[in-house]
């Protein structure tokens, strides 16, 4: 076979394999005939998802060998549900992409349950969920629930702890609920006394910086907010116009702006709500945070007020930014030499220490947990309206099991595992290399941040409106120059937030 024919043949068998039309053994045999054992391909260190979930390398797919014991149990347990279909609408996040692109066929083959995953941007997932719960029609069996919507959907889901305890015949052996990082269970799964879903993914703010620039300018990894600012200023002054000190995700009217704001707010000892449930972003700490943020913005490019996390990630990948406090999810993509100009140049660290002591939950309202490492986690929940509840529950357990999380993480894309044990798995450690897409070398900083620096937004039914609209719209007006002072902007937000909370 000539090289092109060979490629086409390989492409077609890979495609069939991935779609589940061919079993793993025949695939490997066919690939072997081409002289393409996984080792020969030498691709094990290659990033399988292009950072975004586009395609799979046959080597990475061939290396997937799900835990035999678990698959056998699934096969046995799922017998009554074979032929059922479970549907999930999810944001295009690393775990969803990995499951949809590579791992799903294994579950389907073992159980006979068909899994249909609809991948959408975050706002559209919210729209789908809203229609589904409002109609109570059960068009989806599983919900992807972002932490900021948790309160809104807490009444529409089945508490996984109850389900696990009640349906013992469906409870996966060694599933181990206690393995989930406790801080995450609190932050992304618990609303009042209900466990809304199983912790599924954890993007979180960590400090990421250009090691080459730091070294050149003799800068140290920032451990305080003042050092973080000083580094941004130093880079800005030394490197303009090519490189800016730092950047942000500050698009008006977008959730990302609210995420940035809370990090600075919490870091200055402030909080969104006080214990009386009133907005406190306009108190002394809140205004100190604004002063800090204004000074920091002087070291950012013009475009930041039009960027969401997308623009922030891209500008870093283009090598025009010195440091950022942002989603750790970006890191594996920045290390991918095909997509980024800073491959191998980045380093990750925990966020700087707060400038004033963090407020405790007793000093805040609605379960808000201040912390510089803003988290944007999500959980996977079984819908109360589902007609295939048991099949959906099996899928949810499988998707969040230890084995599956390990594969999601090794397949690249940048997920933050929600299970303690995954961080220590040798397969994860093996991918902790410099300059490869899908690297896991930032995960130590992620784990440390989750345990010690994590900040979680408040949970109240109006939070979706406040965090996606009220706060980012008014902050956007502030950055566009509509307010005379930060105080005026914050007072205006306070008034609007309080009236929306009071309206109920």
């Amino acid at each position: 076979m000539n090289p092109i024919d060979r490629k086409l043949y390989l492409a077609s068998i890979t495609d069939r394999y991935v779609k589940g039309k061919m079993d793993r053994r025949s695939f490997l045999r066919a690939a072997g005939k081409l002289g393409l054992g996984a080792g020969v391909l030498g691709l094990s260190s290659m990033m399988p998802f292009g950072g975004r979930g586009g395609f799979i390398s046959p080597a990475a797919a061939a290396e997937i060998e799900p835990d035999a014991e678990m698959m056998a149990w699934l096969k046995e347990t799922a017998k009554p549900f074979a032929g059922q279909t479970v549907r999930l609408a999810t944001e295009s996040t690393p775990p969803s992409n990995a499951i949809n692109s590579a791992l799903k066929p294994f579950f389907e083959a073992a159980t006979g349950i068909k899994v249909e995953i609809e991948v959408l941007p975050l706002e559209q997932v919210l729209q789908k969920l809203t229609l589904d719960v409002a109609s109570g029609l059960g068009t989806y069996d599983l919900y992807y629930i972002d932490q900021s919507w948790m309160a809104s959907f807490s009444g529409d889901v089945i508490d996984p702890r109850e389900k696990y305890a009640a349906s013992t015949d469906l409870a996966m052996p060694n599933y181990n609920m206690d393995d989930f990082l406790p801080a995450l269970v609190d932050g992304i799964s618990m609303y009042e006394d209900t466990m809304v879903g199983v912790p599924y993914d954890i993007p979180i703010f960590i400090t990421m910086y250009r090691a080459d620039i730091y070294e050149e300018l003799g800068l140290k990894v920032p451990t305080t907010m003042d050092e973080y600012m000083a580094n941004a200023v130093a880079i800005q002054q030394a490197k303009q116009p090519e490189i800016y000190g730092t950047n942000g995700q500050m698009k008006s009217g977008h959730y990302s702006l609210e995420c940035d704001w809370t990090a600075w707010l919490w870091a200055h000892g402030g909080s969104i709500f006080g214990p009386d449930g009133k907005f406190t972003g306009n108190d002394e700490a809140g205004l100190a945070a604004m002063e800090y943020w204004i000074k920091l913005k002087e070291n950012m490019p013009e475009g930041v007020t039009t960027w969401t996390w997308d623009g922030q990630g891209q500008s870093m990948a283009q090598g025009i930014i010195g440091q950022a406090l942002s989603w750790g999810e970006f890191f594996p993509f920045w290390d991918n030499p095909e997509a980024s100009k800073v491959s191998g140049l980045m380093e990750a660290a925990v966020p700087p220490a707060p400038k004033a002591p963090l407020r405790t939950t007793a000093q805040t309202g609605y379960g808000e947990i201040p912390g510089v490492g803003h988290q944007g986690g999500s959980s996977l929940a079984v819908s109360k309206y589902s007609k295939n509840e048991d099949a959906a529950w099996l899928f949810a357990q499988w998707a969040t099991s230890f084995d599956t999380q390990v594969y999601i993480t090794t397949l690249g894309g940048g997920t933050g595992p929600t299970r303690k044990s995954v961080y220590d798995d040798p397969r994860i450690k093996a991918n902790s290399k410099k300059g490869i897409g899908g690297t896991t070398r930032h995960l130590d900083a992620v784990r440390d941040t989750i345990a010690n620096h994590m900040g979680s937004e408040p949970d109240l039914p109006q939070w979706a409106e406040l965090s996606n609209d009220t706060i980012p719209v008014e902050l956007g007006r502030f950055w566009a120059g509509d307010y005379d002072s930060p105080k005026a902007a914050m007072d205006s937000i306070a008034e609007k937030v309080d009236s929306i909370v009071a309206r109920g």
Partner: protein, 296 residues
Amino acid sequence: MTSLPLRAPRIFISDRPLPWLIPLIAILVVFALYPFFYNIYLSLHEFVPRKRELIFVGIENWERLFEDSRMWGALWITLLYTGICLAIQLVLGMVIALLIDSDDPGFGILRGLLTLTLVIPPAITGMMFLLMEDAQFGVITYFLQSMGFLTGGSILANNTSALVGVMLADIWQWTPFMVLIFVAGLRALPTDPFESAMIDGASSWQIFRRLTLPMMSKVIAIAVLIRGIDLFRTFDYVYVMTSGGPGTSTYTLSLYAWQQTFSFIKWGYGATISLFALFVILIAANIFVSLTKTRW
């Protein structure tokens, strides 16, 4: 000619319009009347998230609507957006239509190329212009800066230029729509009056004013109505490019209705805003129809 009276009844029989209209009426009743009444019902209710049910609230939503300064701001932006875009698209569309309505070689290709802008979904167009107007990496920003039109600053980050930036996408995409309709209209015009006018020595401008415009009036009226309605409901561009920002400087009524319905789960209030938008367009369209003396 003696047979004429005998055939008259047959003309009468086959002249009943109903059979011709039944399919249209059927589809409109199901797909248009039902949503209308459903929205009236919704606007008198509100969704209670905790109970997952609609409760009757009377005219509370309507009272809230008229006190809602955000809504009035959105209405103003929407009217501004609609007015400016419509005027530019109409004039530009007519000029380009006249320019490319020629049978010279190559003009067929030109007309084809122009329609390319229409086949791109507005949601993608929004992303396209977002990329091109990016303050750091955008090609439009780059050209404007290198020509000195834009000094510093970002198109979409500034209150006034953000609206211009969004309109640019709309005008780029939809001017060819006007061109397409106008060219079809121009091609349907009879040639005789133009020939005799030219023989009489009329200037091009006179021919355009006295012949082309009046003869095209129906087509123009339809184009303006359809485009005006769609502009008033504009959603994709602002949603993708600015999220209504900075602040609320590009926040349109459709975006507000969408957010209330889907982001805040206020179905009743969302339906109220939609109905209000419907009434505004109805009034505007009625005024337009009577001003232009359009009769169907």
